[in-house]
Amino acid sequence: MIAETMTITDTLVKDRAIADLMTGMDMRAAEPPLAPLAMPKQVLTRRARPMWRGLGALLSLLRRDLGRAG
């Protein structure tokens, strides 16, 4: 597919009209207008409930202490 596309491109730039267009054209001019719109990230994961958070904290403390002991 890439080879085929390159052939097409090579052939196309032989077309004076297109070659002129290409040399005279700044592609930045074709970029979409700047009109910012906020798109906040959505929440998709639940925060653990307090009991589970407490258990998690306890486990991480234990792991740290075990690490020290090791």
Binding site: M1, T9, T11, A29, P32, K41, Q42, V43, T45, R46
Partner: protein, 592 residues
């Protein structure tokens, strides 16, 4: 049918509730009946753990089949739907048609934009409809070609200020990230965005109708069309095109009835209200590494769920014509796309519990996950059946002490045959009903008449049954890969005629042949009485490379007739005309 149709009242909310209740009741009852019959049949020689596992597996797989059948039935009975409201007169909103591209062939893709722009202008409507090509192309050669063809497109369409092109430096978040970056940078310039794929085509009148429907309902956040598959040439592609053209409208109609205002988004050939999209659809990265963490792959389902969560209506308007896409031309391309969908759907396991989602959205995620678990359930059932047969103890004809006469076990053949017929019926019945409906409604005429439709349906049924074990093998491998933590990445889509060399087919399918030989060998050694029953699954697996190669060959169009054979839709003809025009110009440039 009439009784069921009467059970569906015209009120949209009631209609949706009743449709859902019908589908759930039908599928659960069918699953329960299958489970009970199997339990009785399996318990005839004493119940074992394997029998209980098999009964459980048959319940789940029957439920899945019955769910499909229920969707088709709903599609056939929920016909009397009010015409969608549309504003008449001048369109006020500004619309941008977004075309994300990723290593696509630029000439073919940009010719589609030229054709759609021509089609819009031919309507004579002065509505502002711009185009934005959003390139995520990583290949520099293709990116250079994109710039050349963009210049060509702008020159042909006099598109400066109406047709835009930008290429991202990094393709963060893949297609969803591409669109998000565009909305964040430029979203305020438009009110609506028609989201397309690189291979999508839409008639100008269809785009305008979609905008009118958005303007008529300020709560409508997303409107999805049912795209028709076009341009298939191979046996596999034409069969899929026929199925999409003949069966899908009925299934989509059932789906629309069931989903109601919590409809689907399939990632393309849809229009969104940009404000709703920006407010609701900013996708975060999921915690953890891929395949379950990271960027959301099947983003479309999540975006539909998030729009619904925010109170926007998401609707499938299956009555809209003039919306087209292309499909994979061979089993390998289908399997590649399916690998991506598999990972994306299984990733929804992390999203299904997201706070505030509507119950139906969660159920849709569940269905998406189940679609990929179902092949493993069938495989599990086959394996358990071989095990049950291998470990079965023969009947005891003299179970009673001091009783000289034999006691014969009850004959359970009728139950076994009934169960097999029931499951086969769930598979075939929806397609048969669609044929009958097409003949009765006159729709079959577009497919060459009643007999041609029936013949094509049988051919498609035969072909899909033949390749089902191969697709099952690919799907099962995908699920295992994802569960083992393998990330499939984001391979670009292959377009073109899709013809495969036998060497490619052999490389892609030999492992399936290997598993087929192993499976058949194990069954022959441990459960020889099942060998014959397993042949419909094992033989296509053994012949996988041949079938993959054979189905990628061109086929006579009459084998799977579609309405497009009798006359190309205007937009498809327009696309071909632009491509022909550009090819002529190239030839002249070459001569010069």
């Amino acid at each position: 049918m009439t009784a069921l149709a009467a059970a569906l009242p015209p009120g949209p909310k009631d209609r949706t509730t009743r449709a859902r209740a019908f589908a759930i009741t039908f599928s659960v009852l069918a699953a329960a009946a299958a489970g009970m019959v199997f339990h009785i049949y399996g318990a005839a020689d004493g119940i074992t753990v394997v029998d209980m596992i098999r009964a459980g597996l048959i319940v789940f797989s029957t439920w899945w089949l019955a769910w499909g059948a229920a969707t088709a039935m709903l599609g056939l009975i929920a016909r009397q739907r009010p015409v969608r409201a549309e504003v008449q007169g001048e369109i006020r909103g500004r619309t941008v048609v977004i075309v994300p591209v990723y290593n696509e062939e630029p000439a073919v893709t940009f010719a589609r934009i030229a054709a759609m722009d021509d089609s819009l202008r031919a309507t004579g409507n002065g509505a502002q409809v711009d185009f934005a090509i959003l390139s995520d192309t990583r290949d520099e050669a293709i990116a250079a070609a994109e710039r050349v063809w963009c210049a060509r497109l702008l020159a042909r369409q006099h598109g400066a200020g109406r047709i835009f092109y930008r290429r991202r430096v990094q393709n963060t978040g893949r297609k969803a990230g591409n669109i998000e970056e565009f909305i964040v940078a430029s979203g305020r310039a438009w009110d609506y965005a028609v989201i397309l794929d690189a291979d999508s085509l839409m008639e100008g009148t269809t785009i305008l109708t979609m905008i009118r429907r958005m303007e008529a309902d300020p709560k409508l956040g997303l409107l999805q069309t049912l795209p028709r598959v076009i341009g298939a040439r191979s046996m596999f592609g034409r069969a899929m095109q026929f199925a999409a053209s003949f069966h899908s409208p009925v299934f989509a109609h059932g789906l629309a009835a069931m989903q109601g205002r919590t409809g689907p988004f399939w990632g393309h050939n849809a229009i969104v209200r940009i404000r709703a999209w920006a407010e609701s659809c900013g996708l975060p990265e999921l915690p953890g590494p891929p395949p379950f963490g990271g960027h959301i792959l099947s983003h479309d389902y999540v975006e539909a769920a998030l729009l619904s969560r925010a109170g926007w209506v998401v609707r499938l308007d299956d009555d809209l014509d003039g919306s087209f896409e292309e499909g994979p031309e061979n089993i390998i391309d289908h399997a590649k796309r399916d690998r991506r969908w598999c990972q994306g759907n299984l990733q929804h396991a992390k999203v299904i519990g997201a706070p505030g989602l509507k119950g139906w959205s969660r159920f849709v995620f569940f269905q998406g996950i189940f679609a990929y678990i179902a092949p493993l359930i069938w495989l599990g059932f086959i394996a358990a059946s071989v095990m049950a047969s291998a470990t079965a103890i023969g009947p005891d004809y003299f179970p009673l002490e001091n009783w000289p006469f034999p006691v014969f076990p009850y004959d359970q053949t009728a139950k076994a045959v009934g169960l097999a017929l029931g499951i086969f019926g769930l598979l075939v019945m929806p397609k048969l009903m669609v044929v009958l409906d097409a003949v009765a409604s006159g729709r079959a005429a577009g497919f060459g008449g009643a007999w041609a439709s029936f013949r094509a349906m049988l051919s498609e049924l035969l072909l899909s049954s033949l390749i089902a074990p191969i697709l099952l093998a690919f799907q099962s491998r995908s699920v295992v890969q994802v569960l083992m933590g393998s990330d499939g990445g984001w391979p670009p889509n292959n377009r073109g005629d899709g013809g495969l060399d036998f060497a490619d087919a052999w490389a892609a399918g030999r492992w399936i042949s290997g598993w087929g030989i192993v499976g058949l060998g194990v069954a022959h050694v441990f459960a020889p009485e099942l060998t014959l029953w397993l042949l419909p699954v094992a033989l296509p697996m053994l012949l996988a490379p041949v079938l993959i190669w054979w189905t990628s060959r061109p086929v006579r169009p009459g084998r799977f007739p579609v309405p497009e054979d009798r006359g190309l839709p205007a937009i498809v003809a327009g696309h071909e005309a632009v491509l022909a025009e550009w090819s002529r110009d190239l030839a002249q440039a070459d001569v010069a």
